[in-house]
């Protein structure tokens, strides 16, 4: 149980002298608080597994420090770091029964027998493995094996954190949902810090109370699911989270107005000090743009198609060269594919070189 601090941590698989732009993990400084449920979210190759392996000590960082409760543990080996990790594919010890598998990390650390038995029984109960405890682990199905791997990760009560590296990849969708809820419940019961790596936004948003979004070796935003949704700090977060992703279009922004395609959109805040020469874009989630009947004061658009997602409909529209996704309010009837777009000014954000710019309130 510990707070984990990463101080200027960076890693390159090409060695210390590699070009900084090629680093698998660009220098980051951040804190993971004790007891948090974190998700590390990002596409394949964004550096999330590297970050996880750095924390567990499987990979030694090229630069920077890792502190557990303020103590520098960077030079310590994985065994000495007091960390648990669950991998993408099930790892079980073929020679042992399910119970012996679960007991293994405790036995190796010299935990008293009585305590091991109690802990194994508890974890087996939480993961519904009790009926299998005395069975050999080899003959079980992939998802039962992965449950054993999860169990070995959770069985130690004194770990600084439990790291999960896309642990539900091999699990059927139905069971995935159950196991994820189970993990969330375990997080509450066991009071462990959990860091969960995934490229699946649903998985990240349902599991974590803090989601850390990574892109190209950098942490681009860290926040609650609501923050990521309502105020993406980077256009990448806008695209990556939400379905369909955020609309991002080039615009001219002056004061409280943004101009797209010769049309002016009102903004909630004032942007007077935009960095000169930067690429300026506005971003707005489809949920905050409505397609309505065309009107002179609205941005006019051509509807290309309407996707019915059941609970809600989204229209794919075109404004000049730019593509938009926008919500179709109930009762809207398209006429000749022409429509007007109505923006919710409070949710239109301005980005300079892909990063969010905070406007002034007045």
């Amino acid at each position: 149980m510990a707070r984990i601090d990463l101080v200027d941590l960076a890693h390159s698989y090409g060695g210390h002298h590699a070009d900084p732009a090629s680093f698998a993990l660009k220098p980051i400084t951040m804190t993971w608080r004790q007891g948090g449920a974190y998700a590390l979210l990002g596409p394949s190759g964004c550096g999330k597994t590297t970050l996880l392996n750095l924390i567990s000590g499987i990979v030694t960082p090229s630069r920077g420090k890792i502190l557990f409760d303020g103590v520098d543990i960077t030079p310590l080996t994985t065994q000495k770091r007091n960390i648990a990790q669950v991998f993408q594919f099930p790892v079980i010890y073929d020679t042992m029964t399910v119970g012996q598998n679960l007991a293994f990390p405790l036995r190796n650390r010299g935990v008293p027998k009585v305590e091991i038995e109690a802990r194994v029984a508890e974890i087996a109960r939480l993961l519904d493995l009790t009926p299998y405890l005395s069975r050999k682990a080899t003959g079980l199905t992939a998802d039962a094996k992965q449950k054993i791997s999860l169990g070995r990760g959770l069985v130690r009560s004194d770990v600084a954190a439990v790291l999960f590296d896309e642990p539900l990849t091999v699990i059927d969708p139905e069971l995935k949902w159950q196991l994820r809820s189970k993990l969330k419940a375990l997080h509450r019961d066991l009071d462990l810090t959990m860091i969960y790596v995934t490229h699946d936004q649903t998985e990240a948003l349902t599991f974590a109370d803090t989601v850390v979004v990574m892109h190209d070796g950098r942490v681009v935003q860290s926040g609650t699911p609501a923050e990521l949704f309502e105020k993406p700090a980077h256009t990448f977060v806008g695209y990556f989270i939400g379905s369909p992703g955020m609309n991002v279009v080039a615009a001219e922004v002056r004061g409280r107005e943004a101009r797209i395609d010769g049309h002016t959109i009102a903004l909630d805040r004032s942007y007077d000090a935009l960095p000169p020469g930067a690429k300026i874009e506005i971003g707005v989630r489809p949920e905050f743009v409505d397609v309505v009947a065309p009107a002179p004061e609205l941005l006019s658009a051509t509807i290309e198609r309407i996707d019915d997602l059941g609970r809600v409909q989204f229209a794919r529209v075109r404004v000049g060269d730019a593509k938009f996704a926008a919500r179709v309010p109930p009762g809207f009837a398209a006429c000749d594919g022409a429509a007007g777009l109505k923006f919710d000014p409070a949710h239109v954000h301005v980005y300079a070189d892909s990063r969010l710019v905070e406007g002034a309130a007045q």
Binding site: G57, I83, V91, Y93, T95, F104, P105, N108
Partner: protein
Amino acid sequence: MKKTVNNRAWLLVAPVMIVVLFSALLPMMTVVNYSLQDAMAENHFFWNGDSWFRDLLNPHTEIGSRFSGALERNLIFSFVVLLIEVPLGIALALALPRRGWAVGPCLVVIALPMLIPWNVVGTMWQIFARADIGLFGAALTGMGLHYNDTQDPVSAWFTILVIDVWHWTPLVILLSYAGLRAIPDPFYQAARIDAASRWSVFLNIELPKLQRVLVLAILLRFMQSFMIYTEPFVVTGGGPGDATTFLSIDLVKIALGQVDLGSAAAMSLVYYLITITLCWIFFTAMTQLDLLKET
């Protein structure tokens, strides 16, 4: 989907069947033929029933005692070979680098002995082991050891064993190395997370994952060592006395030296059956282990 029955498919396997017929089946039937008959001069054959086999399997006859003696030496030899080569091969495979520039050169150097033909191996070692001019023999003698592979049975056995270990441990190393490389990294990483000792990693991860290649290694090494011929033939000539006279050596002596075709045929058939039976037992035992583990 329903399978179609078309007997013309036999035509596809016919060429292989014909080759096997001429290369294996017909020569073997000749051997069966010899084993049941007695041959006189000018190719007169008489039906002899099973008496060659009865003599062979009765240790009180001359041929029977030779056979049982050679069989015993063969079994001891194969057993010792497996006992040395399998653990040694695994140990060396574990010691090899897993990645990096050294992998290629290491594997090539290790594989070299396997590329040398048997009779060359024999000749090399015949000279190498000589107590007067051979490096190996002279070195042992120089250290004050009593070593003479042509006069002392212990030296002779030691030499043949060393040759086989040198020649064929590389096979076990390469098979084990391939097996070890096939183990995904997360197994090792998980073991580090679980604070497993090196020994425990070996017992609980590496050895179980090696089981399949080890079945192969043990079968191959058993078969080859059980049929050992060239090395003792060239290096010790089966001696001193009959100390290194293995079944194959004795068989050639009986068939080509004494032209005792009936005994030789019976002996080679029994030899063949023993090899096949032992291989079957090994194979079944080791694959049954798999099934046992799963229940």
